[in-house]
C-alpha cells in the first residue's frame, strides 16, 4: 500500500501540474473541448484514485471540482471566478497531498468552505444555463454505453496496470447514478487487481489492443449523434458514457507515449553518471599512454573503438540527466494568470523552446529565479491596460520566454513589452543607497545603470505590491544563477520593454577547463569564467604595475586588478609577479586577472566534489583527474573573488566598467577628470574638486556685459572657458565642469569630457602659466593639470563679494607634503577668508611656528612624508604657545587607531582629504567659535 501511495503521490502531483496549465489554457479558450475533456479526465483520475486509497478529503474536493467542470462541459459559460475557484481547489488538494507525503496520512480538517463554494457555483451555472437555450454539447451521448462494453471486453485479455486502474476508477464514479454499469466496472477491477505486477511488454500490448476498437465504435454511433443531441437532458449515464471512448482514444496516445518511459530513481542515474565519469577518465588515461608510446602493440584500434563507445555512452548518460526546460516553466502560466487577475492587467505568456533540454541539477536551480523574473515582468514591466492604450500599445501585454542552445550553454530570455526600466529612478536610488556617487552615476551608461537592479535591496517600485517591490529578489536571482556558473544580462528600452538574458552551462558534471600552472602545480579554471588570456612580461606591451604593492594590469585603458594565484594560495617561493600569464576572469560584474606561471590547454574535465575535509576552502569548487592521471584542483572564480574581496577588506573588485577606475583608494591615487580644451592636449582636474558635470544647450547661455552666464539651479552661474583657444559655444551643446562652493558656482567650459581615470599624480610644475598646476603623465599620456584657482579670480566678483563680509583674513597654516594638494587648497582656503601659510613637511611647519608665526588654525595632512602629522600635533601640544591652537587633520584613509590618537591630541576635526566641503564646513565652525571668542 505504501508503494501504491508513493506512486499515487507522484502521479497525482504530475497530473495537478498539468491541470494547472490546462486550466489556464482553457480559460482563454473555453470552446476547446479537447482541453476540457483532458482536464476533466485528470481530475476524474485523481478523484477515483483517492476514493480507492481511502482519502475522503481529497475525494470530496476533487468531486466538487469535477462537478463544476462537468457543468462547463455541458456548455456553461466559463468565468474567471469559476476558474479561480477551481484553481484554489487544486491548491488545496496540493496542500493536502503535501501533508500526505510528509505524514503518510490525510491531515485533519474540513474543506466544506470550498466545497460549498464549488457547489454554489455549479448550481448558479446550472440555473443560468437552464434559462439560456440549450447550447448543443455536440457529444455522442447515447453511443456511450456501447463503447463501454467494448472496452470492458477488450480489457480482459491483458492484465491491468495502474493507468488502467485509474481509468477504471474514472469510470467508477460515473455510475453513482447508474448503478448497473457501475457494478460491472468493479468486477473488472477486482479481477484485474489479483494478478499483481505487469510487465512492460504486456502493458504495451494491452494498451495497443485496448484503444484499437475505440475509433470503430465512435464512428459507428456517429449517425446516432444527431438524434442524441436532441435529447439534451439525457440521463446521466448517457452523459458519462462518452468519457471512456474519448479517454480511450486520448489515453492511447498518452500511453504509447508513456510506454517509452519508465521511472528510474535519481540515485540510480547519479550512480550511472559517476561510473561513466570514471570510465571517461580511464579512457583518457589509456589514450594518454597510447600517445606516449610510439609502438603499436595492436591495441590502438580497439582503444579507438573503446574511446568512441565511451563518448557515446557519456552522451547517452548525460541525456538521462537532461530534462526539457518546460518542466521549470510549468507553473508559469498559472502564476501569470493569477497575477494578471490580481493586478488587473492583461498579460499573455508566450513560451518558446520549452523542449530545450538541460541538466536537471541546473534546472532545479533556475526554477525559482525564472518564476521570480516572470513575476517581476508581470508586476513591474507590463503596464495596466489603460496605460498601454495611452502609449499606443495593444491592451494585452506579452511576456515571452525563449530558450535555446548556444554553444555549450543554454540561453533563456525573458522579455516583456512593458514600459522598460525606469533608469532615472534607478540612478536616483543608486545614489540614495550609496551604491554609487552622483558623479559615477552621471557617467555610467544606461546598460550599466540597469545592472544596479541586481544589487541587494534594490527596488524601484513606487509602491510595494504583494508581488514584488520589496527589494528582495533580483540579487538572489543573480546569485542563484551565478552559483551554477551562469550570467544574467538586461536590455531595456524605455516604453518598449525589458529583456533579461540568462546564460547557463548545460551541465555541471563535465565542464571545459583551462589548465594552468602556478609554482609547478597545475590547476583547472572553468572556461566559462575566462574571458581572455594576456601574456605579461616587463618588456612587453603588457606589464604589471604596482600601486602601493598591489599589482595592476593596464588592459585596453582599463585597470585590471591582478591576483597572483600563488599568493592567494600561500604557495611558497619568491613572488615574481612580472612574468607569466594573466587569465582575465569575469565573474558577474567583477573583472580581475589571475596571474599564473603557465597555461597549458583546455580539457573537458569531470568535476568531482571536494572531500568534506576540504570543502571549506572556498577557493576550490572541486577536483578532477586529468588525462595523465594527475589530480588537479578546480578553482572557483567566485570563491577567489570573494576571498580576495574579504582579504583586502575593500571593494577592490568593482563593477565591470566605469566604476573600475575609482577602485583603489591607495595613498597616491587621485581620481582625475580628463577633458579637452581648445587645443589638442589633454587636461585634467581632480575629480574631488568638481561638483557636477553638465551639458547645457548653448542657446541658454546669456551674455551679461560681455561675460557668459547661465541660469543654473535658479541662480546665475558665470562661465569661464578653460583656455584661450576654446570659445564658448553659441550653439549646440556645451560641456561644463561645475565648481561650487556653498551657493556660488562657476562653470568651466570644456570642449569634451574624455574620461575619469585613477592615477598617480607626478607633477612637473610649469611655472610660466598660471592656469595650469603643471603637467603629469596620466594613463601614459601627458596631461595638463588645470589650476582651478586660476579661474576663480575671473569670476571674482561673486567669490570676492562673499569673502568681504567676513572681515579681516585670519592666518592659517596648511601643512601638506603634496605640492599638488597645497596648490589646490590654497585658493580654496583664501576664498574662504584665510591668509594661508604653507609648509610641506612637519619640520618646516615646526620651524615656522617656533619662528614666531601665529596662526588661528592649523590644517595638516596626517600622512606627511618623513614625520607624521600626528607627531607634529604632539610637538605643538607640548609647546605652550600652540597648545590650544585648533587643528584640523586631513587623511585619505580613516584608521580607527589613528582617529583615537588624534582625539587624544585634541585634534578638533578629521576630514577626508578629498572632502573639500567637509574641510570648509569644519573651518566655518571654527571661524564662528573664533569670532565669538574675539
Amino acid at each position: 500500500m505504501d508503494d501504491l501511495l508513493v506512486e499515487f503521490l507522484t502521479e497525482t502531483n504530475e497530473h495537478l501540474e498539468t491541470v494547472d496549465v490546462e486550466m489556464v489554457r482553457f480559460e482563454q479558450d473555453p470552446n476547446n473541448e479537447a482541453i476540457l475533456s483532458n482536464i476533466f479526465r485528470l481530475v476524474h483520475t485523481i478523484k477515483g484514485t483517492c476514493g480507492f486509497l481511502g482519502l475522503p478529503r481529497l475525494e470530496a474536493l476533487a468531486h466538487a471540482a469535477e462537478t463544476l467542470m462537468g457543468k462547463f462541459r455541458d456548455g456553461m459559460p466559463v468565468t474567471t471566478p469559476a476558474v479561480s475557484l477551481i484553481l484554489t481547489t487544486l491548491d488545496r488538494i496540493k496542500e493536502i497531498l503535501g501533508e500526505l507525503e510528509r505524514h503518510g496520512a490525510e491531515p485533519q480538517g474540513s474543506d466544506q468552505d470550498l466545497i460549498e463554494m464549488l457547489d454554489r457555483m455549479a448550481a448558479q451555472e446550472v440555473s443560468a444555463v437552464e434559462a439560456a437555450p440549450p447550447s448543443p454539447p455536440a457529444k455522442p451521448q447515447a453511443a456511450g454505453t456501447l463503447v463501454y462494453q467494448v472496452l470492458e471486453r477488450e480489457l480482459k485479455p491483458g492484465e491491468v496496470s495502474l493507468d488502467e486502474l485509474e481509468r477504471a476508477f474514472q469510470e467508477a464514479p460515473g455510475p453513482e447514478k447508474a448503478t448497473t454499469s457501475g457494478s460491472l466496472t468493479y468486477q473488472v477491477l477486482e479481477r484485474a487487481l489479483k494478478p499483481g505486477e505487469v510487465s512492460l511488454d504486456e502493458l504495451e500490448r494491452a494498451f495497443r489492443e485496448a484503444p484499437g476498437p475505440a475509433p470503430l465504435v465512435v464512428s459507428k454511433p456517429a449517425p446516432e449523434k444527431a438524434e442524441a443531441a436532441q435529447a439534451v437532458a439525457a440521463p446521466q449515464p448517457a452523459k458519462k458514457a462518452p468519457d471512456p471512448s474519448s479517454e480511450g482514444a486520448e489515453g492511447s496516445e498518452g500511453v504509447t507515449g508513456k510506454v517509452q518511459t519508465i521511472r528510474v530513481s535519481v540515485d540510480t542515474l547519479e550512480h550511472l553518471m559517476t561510473m561513466v565519469s570514471e570510465l571517461v577518465l580511464t579512457r583518457n588515461q589509456l589514450l594518454e599512454i597510447a600517445r606516449r608510446s610510439s609502438e603499436d602493440h595492436g591495441y590502438k584500434v580497439p582503444l579507438q573503438r573503446l574511446s568512441q563507445v565511451t563518448a557515446e555512452l557519456q552522451d547517452g548518460v548525460m541525456k538521462t540527466r537532461m530534462q526539457p526546460i518546460g518542466n521549470a516553466w510549468q507553473k508559469l502560466p498559472r502564476v501569470v494568470r493569477d497575477l494578471s487577475n490580481e493586478l488587473s492587467k492583461k498579460i499573455e505568456l508566450v513560451m518558446q523552446g520549452a523542449d530545450t533540454e538541460l541538466d536537471r541539477q541546473v534546472l532545479e536551480v533556475i526554477k525559482d529565479p525564472l518564476t521570480h523574473m516572470v513575476r517581476n515582468s508581470a508586476d513591474h514591466g507590463i503596464e495596466s491596460p489603460a496605460e498601454r492604450k495611452a502609449a499606443g500599445k495593444p491592451e494585452k501585454g506579452t511576456i515571452r520566454l525563449n530558450a535555446y542552445h548556444e554553444g555549450g550553454s543554454i540561453t533563456i530570455e525573458i522579455a516583456d513589452d512593458g514600459k522598460g526600466l525606469n533608469l532615472a529612478a534607478i540612478r536616483k536610488k543608486a545614489v540614495e543607497r550609496g551604491v554609487a556617487t552622483d558623479a559615477e552615476v552621471e557617467r555610467l551608461s544606461d546598460a550599466q545603470i540597469a545592472k544596479f537592479i541586481f544589487h541587494p535591496g534594490f527596488s524601484t517600485a513606487e509602491k510595494v505590491t504583494s508581488v514584488s517591490g520589496r527589494g528582495v529578489g533580483m540579487d538572489v536571482v543573480k546569485t542563484n544563477i551565478e552559483l551554477i556558473g551562469g550570467t544574467v544580462d538586461i536590455r531595456s528600452e524605455q516604453g518598449r520593454g525589458t529583456t533579461f538574458t540568462i546564460k547557463i552551462p548545460l551541465t555541471l558534471a563535465i565542464v571545459a577547463a583551462l589548465i594552468v600552472s602556478s609554482k609547478d602545480q597545475r590547476f583547472a579554471i572553468p572556461q566559462v569564467a575566462v574571458s581572455e588570456l594576456v601574456r605579461v612580461s616587463p618588456s612587453s606591451e603588457h606589464s604589471i604595475e604596482r600601486i602601493n604593492g598591489t599589482p595592476i594590469l593596464r588592459l585596453r585603458d582599463r585597470l585590471l586588478p591582478i591576483v597572483p594565484l600563488s599568493k592567494v594560495m600561500g604557495l611558497p617561493g619568491g613572488e615574481d609577479v612580472n612574468h607569466g600569464f594573466v587569465v582575465v576572469t569575469q565573474v558577474a560584474q567583477q573583472r580581475f586577472g589571475i596571474l599564473v606561471d603557465g597555461v597549458f590547454h583546455t580539457e573537458e574535465i569531470v568535476v568531482k566534489p571536494m572531500s568534506s575535509k576540504l570543502r571549506h576552502i572556498q577557493l576550490f569548487s572541486g577536483n578532477t583527474i586529468l588525462g595523465d592521471g594527475a589530480v588537479v584542483l578546480i578553482i572557483d572564480p567566485n570563491g577567489l573573488a570573494r576571498m580576495v574581496g574579504t582579504e583586502s577588506n575593500s571593494n577592490e573588485f568593482q563593477t565591470d566598467t566605469g566604476l573600475e577606475q575609482t577602485v583603489v583608494a591607495a595613498d597616491e591615487m587621485t581620481s582625475l577628470l580628463v577633458f579637452r580644451g581648445g587645443g589638442e592636449s589633454l587636461k585634467a582636474v581632480p575629480l574631488s574638486l568638481v561638483t557636477r558635470l553638465e551639458e547645457i544647450d548653448a542657446s541658454t547661455i546669456e551674455w551679461s556685459s560681455g561675460r557668459p552666464v547661465v541660469q543654473y539651479r535658479g541662480r546665475l552661474m558665470p562661465l569661464v572657458s578653460c583656455d584661450e583657444e576654446l570659445a564658448i559655444k553659441r550653439q549646440g551643446m556645451q560641456s561644463l565642469l561645475v565648481f561650487s562652493d556653498g551657493d556660488v558656482s562657476m562653470g568651466l567650459a570644456v570642449a569634451e569630457i574624455v574620461d575619469i581615470v585613477e592615477d598617480k599624480l607626478d607633477i612637473e610644475l610649469l611655472a610660466e602659466r598660471s592656469d595650469l598646476v603643471g603637467s603629469a603623465v596620466v594613463r601614459g599620456r601627458t596631461t595638463e593639470i588645470v589650476n582651478v584657482a586660476h579661474y576663480l579670480p575671473m569670476v571674482l566678483e561673486t567669490w570676492a563679494r562673499k569673502d568681504k563680509g567676513k572681515g579681516p583674513e585670519r592666518p592659517l597654516l596648511l601643512v601638506d607634503s603634496s605640492t599638488f594638494f597645497r596648490d589646490m587648497l590654497v585658493p580654496v582656503l583664501r576664498a574662504a577668508g584665510y591668509r594661508v601659510h604653507t609648509a610641506s613637511t612637519a619640520q618646516e611647519a615646526a620651524r615656522l611656528l617656533s619662528g614666531g608665526l601665529q596662526v588661528d588654525i592649523i590644517v595638516t595632512d596626517l600622512e606627511l612624508s618623513g614625520h607624521s602629522g600626528l607627531a607634529l600635533v604632539a610637538s605643538l601640544r607640548a609647546d605652550p604657545n600652540h597648545a590650544r591652537t585648533p587643528v584640523i587633520a586631513m587623511t585619505v584613509k580613516s584608521d580607527p587607531q589613528q582617529i583615537a590618537l588624534a582625539r587624544k591630541l585634541r585634534v578638533s576635526e578629521i576630514v577626508s582629504k578629498i572632502d573639500r566641503k567637509g574641510l570648509l564646513s569644519a573651518l566655518a565652525e571654527f571661524s564662528g567659535v573664533l569670532e565669538e571668542a574675539a
Partner: protein, 162 residues
C-alpha cells in the same frame, strides 16, 4: 615510554576473540589498524598538495581513478614530517562514503591479536595520542597501539580553520 614489562602475550591464546590488525610504522612506533577497516595498501606515487588545506591533509591522490584524500598519520600524531624520501606507503580507508589514504612510514605484516589482551592507554600518554588510540597490545619486543580509525579521520576542516 616506560611501561609494564612485556609479557609473553600475543598470538598464543587461541580460544578468545581475535582481531586482525594491519601494522604500520610511524617514527618507529608500531600501530595497528583493524583489518576490517582497511581497503588496501598502496604506494603513493604522485600527490597533489592542496593549498590552504588543514595541516593533517597531505594532498590528493589518484587511486585507480578515484580521488583519495591523503591524511598524514605523522601530522595527525603531532610528529614532524619524515625527511627520508623513500617510497611513501598509504593505507586505504573509507569513512562516511569518502576515500582516504593514511600516509605512514611503512606497512608491516598482519597480526592476529586477542581482543581481551588489549590494555587501556597508559595514563601519561600524550593527549593527542590518547584520542586516536583504542588501547595498547604488548607484543614480544614491541608495543602496538591500536588506532581508532574514526578518530584518526575525525578532524574538521572548518573547525580547524575557524
Amino acid at each position: 615510554m616506560k611501561l609494564v614489562e612485556p609479557t609473553a602475550a600475543g598470538a598464543a591464546k587461541q580460544m578468545s576473540k581475535q582481531t586482525e590488525f594491519v601494522t604500520v610504522t610511524v617514527a618507529d612506533q608500531l600501530l595497528g589498524l583493524p583489518i576490517s577497516r582497511v581497503h588496501d595498501v598502496f604506494v603513493v606515487s604522485e600527490m597533489t598538495t592542496v593549498p590552504l588545506a588543514p595541516g593533517e591533509i597531505a594532498g590528493l591522490l589518484n587511486l585507480r581513478g578515484r580521488v583519495v584524500t591523503a591524511v598524514s598519520l605523522r601530522r595527525r600524531l603531532g610528529l614532524q614530517d619524515s625527511h627520508e624520501s623513500e617510497r611513501k606507503m598509504a593505507v586505504g580507508l573509507e569513512n562516511q562514503g569518502e576515500a582516504y589514504g593514511l600516509l605512514v612510514d611503512d606497512v608491516g605484516e598482519v597480526l592476529k591479536l586477542d581482543t581481551d589482551e588489549m590494555q587501556p592507554n597508559p595514563v601519561h600518554m600524550d593527549r593527542g595520542w590518547v584520542e586516536l588510540s583504542q588501547g595498547v597490545h604488548q607484543l614480544r619486543d614491541k608495543l602496538l597501539i591500536v588506532l581508532d580509525v574514526d578518530a584518526v579521520l575525525d578532524f574538521g576542516g572548518e573547525r580547524e580553520a575557524a
